[in-house]
């Protein structure tokens, strides 16, 4: 199997008629994803990509008509918080938010609302997920992945591609790759994804790519030492980053001495994780 997305994923694209939405919908189709619907308020009734995908005015109607169970969000930041809530309200179980730049207080409200619902939010500010050979939800290039037994979880985008590419070059394939997002407040954290990989029969090894800011890698280290039987290889970006500067990602900042790469690497090493010095070293740790 794989985690979160597979052949039974029925995907709905929020913001499908936008430039980004349309471009990536085509890419996702090329990776074999079953895309059943798109949503753009005011454009309901249209069809996109040569009549392949129907557009609806709301997630509720789109999901009712097509049985969509997963949504991916490409709408601008100021509307994205609302888009997440709309998907959750329509009963979508897996919501993947690609959008970068959502105000953090909007996300706090969203998190509070979805906390009590049976819904999994990936992102925001995420490249999405890919299960090579069966589905892609988001923007990870399909060409740099191949099917295999390594689970990958990461807070960033292109750095994840670098790792997937290095794995593929070494002849190592991926079960599922999950980008959890580079924002300070995100829907699903490392530990939850690690627990899914631990329970996935296709995954034998996990690669975890963290970065400076927050304490999620430390929490993941605690989770690994208590619950993981599968080996985990780690990498932490930002070892050369100065404190109190936001390194591109809204969440990548060392504040009040918290969130340093050093602390994260030490925590992971203590949990028995082999931590690579640079991305291309990772395949060497996988036997």
């Amino acid at each position: 199997m794989s985690i979160l997305i597979n052949g039974s994923t029925r995907l709905l694209v929020q913001g499908i008629t936008g430039q980004e939405g349309l471009f990536h919908t085509r890419q996702m189709l090329n990776c074999g994803t079953n895309i059943v619907a798109g949503v753009t308020p005011g454009r309901g009734g249209e069809w996109v990509l040569d009549g392949k995908i129907p557009v609806f005015d709301s997630v509720r109607t789109g999901a009712d008509v097509t049985g969509a169970n997963t949504s991916v969000i490409f709408v601008p930041a100021r509307f994205a918080g609302d888009a997440i809530l709309e998907a959750a309200d329509a009963g979508i179980k897996l919501i993947v938010c690609i959008t970068e730049g959502i105000p953090v207080n909007d996300m706090l409200t969203v998190k509070q609302v979805i906390r009590d619902k049976d819904v999994c939010l990936i992102g925001p500010n995420s490249p999405g997920l890919i299960t090579p050979g069966s589905a892609k939800v988001g923007i990870i290039p399909g060409s740099i992945t191949e099917k295999g037994n390594v689970g990958v979880v990461s807070r960033s985008g292109t750095l994840t591609y670098e790792v997937l590419y290095a794995l593929k070059q070494a002849g190592i394939g991926t079960s599922t790759c999950v980008g959890i997002g580079g924002d300070p407040v995100i829907g699903t954290n490392f530990s939850e994804i690690l627990s899914y990989f631990e329970g996935d029969s296709q995954t034998d090894v996990v690669v975890m790519i963290g970065e400076i800011g927050g304490r999620e890698e430390e929490k993941a280290a605690a989770f690994i030492s208590e619950h993981m039987t599968k080996p985990v290889i780690g990498f932490i970006a930002g070892q050369a980053a100065p404190p109190n500067k936001r390194m591109g990602h809204a969440g990548a900042i060392i504040e009040g001495g918290v969130g340093t790469a050093k602390a994260k690497i030490e925590a992971l090493q203590q949990a028995g994780v082999q931590v690579a010095h640079y991305p291309e070293e990772i395949p060497g740790y996988i036997k």
Partner: protein, 379 residues
């Protein structure tokens, strides 16, 4: 975006949080005039966006308007951590009975807003957290419920605020929460919040950080941004939608994506070199954007080598290569460039660069090693 103390206090005052009487002065004469109006001892506070202002001599207590003028002339025009002091906040002196800390911020781990209080005010809260964490009280705020009175009473009890002052303290907490929410802040700090000898509660200092991602909701705040404490290259980069941070090494870096940009700096360091900057050109950058990024990198005289690492997805390698070529023709830089392009249109990109006679690398590791050894040769 960080607001000055005087801007933060203006906001507090608009939300009925008591602040000391006083005004902003930009000349010694103004400082004297304000001191005369206040008619008593005054505090002069340099308005610069750097920490450790007090220790650097940016805060003075004076007794007479004449002293205020003299001291103001010393502070105005001086530099605190290399930032010129252009304005002073001149405020009445306050008789302090107790200093406490009151702040609000985002708790990333729990995904909620926190209100934090401590009986140890006037020192950095991080320091209190390190030395005596038991002295810090905190409550998590449900955004759907807002801050509740009982939570404030819990804070007040924990930091031992006298019951006679609970009513005043409750009002300050509610007003702080209201201003924090209204401005889309990620931090609002009153440190210290003081209890005066005549039992009033006053915000003696103020620090507010606004979420840059929420500035679209606050167009009025845009012109409150003070860029004097920012690095000129960083301001320039922001104009082009680039995330650039200056560091003190000699290998300039141009990368797409924040995580990869950090990892590229890290590998330079691991291979024995020193990155000159962090630079993320973002996704789908045009040749023009790449050229402006390179101009910023090359404007740093310390840069001896440039490392370009592009993992093309939405970003097209041929577009990046064209940007590099354009910069080469325009600026004709004498320092070497090491370029690694992988992903979308990388073959076309490498073709463009082959014509321009630049050093290329297959892997990030190879690129970093080449850049580090070139930087050493040049230096």
């Amino acid at each position: 975006m960080r607001l000055h103390e005087y801007q933060s206090k203006d906001i507090f005052a608009q939300h009925q949080i008591p602040i000391p009487r006083g005004r902003l002065a930009s000349t010694p004469e103004e400082a004297k005039l304000i001191a005369e109006e206040l008619n008593g001892p005054v505090v002069l506070k340099a308005q610069v966006l750097v920490g450790g202002r007090g220790k650097a001599g940016g805060v003075r207590l004076v007794n007479t308007p004449k002293e205020a003028e003299e001291e103001a002339s010393k502070i105005l025009g001086s530099r605190i951590k290399d930032i010129p002091v252009r304005r002073l906040l001149v405020e009445e002196g306050v008789n302090i009975q107790q200093e406490i800390y009151l702040g609000m911020t985002v708790d990333r781990e729990c995904g909620e807003t926190l209100m934090i209080a401590s009986a140890e005010g006037g020192v950095e809260i991080e320091e209190v957290a390190r030395v005596s964490p038991e002295k810090i009280a905190r409550v998590g705020i449900n955004p759907l419920l807002g801050l509740r009175d009982f939570q404030i009473r819990n804070l007040a009890t924990e930091i031992e605020i006298p019951r006679t002052l609970w009513r005043l303290f409750t009002a300050v907490c509610h007003n702080l929460y209201e201003s924090y929410q209204e401005l889309d802040s990620t931090l609002a700090e009153i440190n210290p919040l003081v209890i005066t000898t005549d039992n009033r509660i006053i915000a003696l200092d103020g620090k507010i950080l606004i979420d840059d991602n929420a500035l679209f909701r606050h167009p009025d705040l845009m012109d409150k941004r003070d860029i004097s404490a920012e690095v000129p290259e960083e301001i320039e980069a922001r104009k082009f939608g680039l995330a650039y941070i200056k560091l003190d090494g000699n290998i300039g870096c141009l990368v797409n994506g924040a995580g990869l940009a950090m990892a590229s700096m890290d590998i330079i360091k691991y291979k024995g070199g020193h990155p000159a900057n962090f630079l993320d050109i973002g996704g789908g950058a045009s040749a023009e954007k790449v050229a402006s990024a390179l101009r910023i990198i090359l404007s740093d005289p310390q840069v001896k080598t440039v490392l370009v690492n592009i993992f093309g997805g939405i970003t097209r390698c041929d577009e990046v290569a064209n940007g590099i070529k354009q910069t080469m023709e325009e600026l004709n830089p004498e320092i070497p460039f090491v370029i690694r392009l992988v992903g979308t249109n990388d073959i076309e990109g490498r073709q463009i660069l082959a014509e321009a006679n630049l050093i290329t690398a297959e892997s990030l590791q190879e690129a970093a090693e080449k850049a580090v050894s070139l930087a050493k040769e040049v230096a």
